[in-house]
Subunit: 339 residues, 2 copies
């Protein structure tokens, strides 16, 4: 039986969901994959949880980040630097939020972990937007896995397909409905609801953040597109290379006109290649019924890849809430050699 | 830079397509994945090709199996047993056809290769239908990869998604349009064409074999369903466990009735779980417009997986001709550690 030490970095929504899912699934994973995963530490910016043995305490799954200092396992000021010497290299599960311009603080932590021979399953987009290519190079030099499915659509396996399933083919185009919030809003607008009302509904359902700009201005789509494009092209585009139009300027009339013509308006992230030059753009497009992403409605997501030797391939669905992201982190860990 | 010796087993349609694609892509793969792949031998049942160095001769891509004995590289009676001692373990690319009841001869060759520490990228369904679990166990013991994307839908990454992207989740149901021939025939029948006429069209286009029973009686769908189900469930079902109804008994009236009600008839392979007991069946079903596979028409294929923690996930498309199968073999090789 294989075994690996896990260190969980971050205890926001995704980190908590990961802890819960891990505790639920641990026994089953041992049985199915012959792997013993041991959670050794949980780190936040103010300190962390650590004990002599493992942290497999269901009570932890019920705690919020701000309650962690009340735990018997709490060590104030515990940081990653305290971890490196304590354990043999294992798997770092990164659930921070990384600034989009600098990728920090997650970027530095991931770099350190990979350089020290730890495998990394990452969920935040910042480090990938800033330096995916550099991180992958460090992982290669260290002979470890660096995976980040959770950052590009949670349980939608966009990164797996882009990296593994299309390996050896050239991706000539990519189109994705990569953001569930805007797709929900556009679907409702297509049903005759106004933009402000659709946005309110999305907030009520927890699909939109109180400050929805990240989604509706197309930033989230742009970052996911950037990561996927750099992955399939092995390129080093920056966020500033993505032309970006959100859905805030879209009129109800434009959406309903598309509907009268049998179409639907979707916010797409698009990689196109013209005369060998790839370009990246995010904008609302009116799709016709034959389009492979036409049926992707509500908060659902989907991506279509066009390739030279494998034809065109579409993936749709996959849970995209924190539990979906947690499942993607767990999948990435298992895919490091136990499947 | 990594390097690996390749041995190609079989020179039918898929084997030839693999050789051509490999020669086309070899330089690009070196550049992109930092891997030097060297084709050392090509084996058929009557002998094979072997030389001192590598077989990277474009003229080979133009030859048919029966012309190989005319090649300067031809060695009569050359077999796999002559190969094991000649090279360090590399990658065996299996493109034979394996009998569905015994899996032979491919099954024996794959077992030998895995036991000797060779990685295997397989394309034939027989060995997987007979003993996927056993083959995976040998691979695990030898610490090598055993991959078989090409056997479950060519460039449609059904095996990748089932094995890797859904790792750690429980697949509670699976539905697939797994056979392009029957889907083409049913699509044409939905457009008002009779079964015999649709079958003739499929033969004319090279989509159906001269003897179409393998497809239209549901065997091909059943085998692919079996392989995928055993993969996602880690089970050991046999082909005789799959209830199977083909499309030969389907009347034009049944298909057009579904059409009048807004639906479409599709031949589905279905894994269902009731009270914890999985069951496998192949049969024509009338799908309604909301179904995730509703838009999968003509010779296209698709699969929907339903899971406990990752929601529902659908994959559609991917080239499924010999070149698509060859691309899947190449992908499997790269996914053995170079992506």
């Amino acid at each position: 039986m294989g075994a690996a030490s896990l260190v969980l970095l971050g205890f926001g929504q995704v980190g908590r969901a990961f802890l819960r899912l891990f505790l639920e699934k641990r026994e089953r994973l041992r049985e199915r994959y012959d792997i013993e995963l041991n959670l050794r530490a949980v780190l936040t910016s103010r300190g962390g949880l650590l004990t002599e043995g493992v942290l497999h305490d269901p009570a932890l799954g019920e705690m919020k980040r701000e309650e962690l200092p009340g735990s018997a396992y709490w060590k104030p000021d515990l940081g990653l630097d305290d971890i490196w010497d304590k354990f043999e290299p294992g798997i770092l599960v990164e659930c921070l939020s990384g600034d989009l311009e600098t990728g920090q603080p997650a970027l530095g932590f991931i770099r350190s972990a990979l350089a020290r021979g730890w495998q990394v399953a990452a969920s935040s987009k910042g480090p990938l937007a800033v330096d995916m290519k550099g991180l992958r190079a460090i992982a290669r030099r260290s002979g470890v896995h660096f995976k980040f499915s959770a950052a590009t659509g949670a349980a939608l396996p966009a990164a797996d397909v882009g990296l593994l399933s299309l390996a050896g083919s050239e991706v000539t185009a990519l189109e994705g409905i990569l953001n569930g919030t805007t797709n929900f809003i556009l679907t409702r607008m297509g049903e005759g609801v106004s933009y402000p009302q659709a946005l309110d509904e999305a907030k009520l359902r927890g699909i939109a953040e109180p400050d929805p700009r990240w989604d509706v201005e197309g930033w989230d789509t742009a970052v996911k597109l950037l990561i996927l494009a750099n992955l399939v092209l092995d390129s080093d585009f920056k966020l500033s290379d993505v032309r970006r139009t959100g859905i805030t300027e879209l009129s109800a009339e434009e959406v309903s006109r598309a509907g009268r013509q049998g179409g639907k308006v979707k916010l797409l992230g698009r990689l196109e290649t013209k005369s060998g030059r790839p370009s990246l753009a995010v904008a609302p497009f009116a799709l016709e019924p034959g389009h492979p992403l036409f049926m992707v409605d509500g908060p659902e997501k989907g991506v279509t890849f066009t390739t030279d030797t494998m034809g065109s391939l579409t993936i749709i669905g996959g849970r995209s809430d924190p539990r979906g992201a947690a499942a993607a982190l767990l999948k990435d860990m298992l895919a490091m050699g136990w499947t």
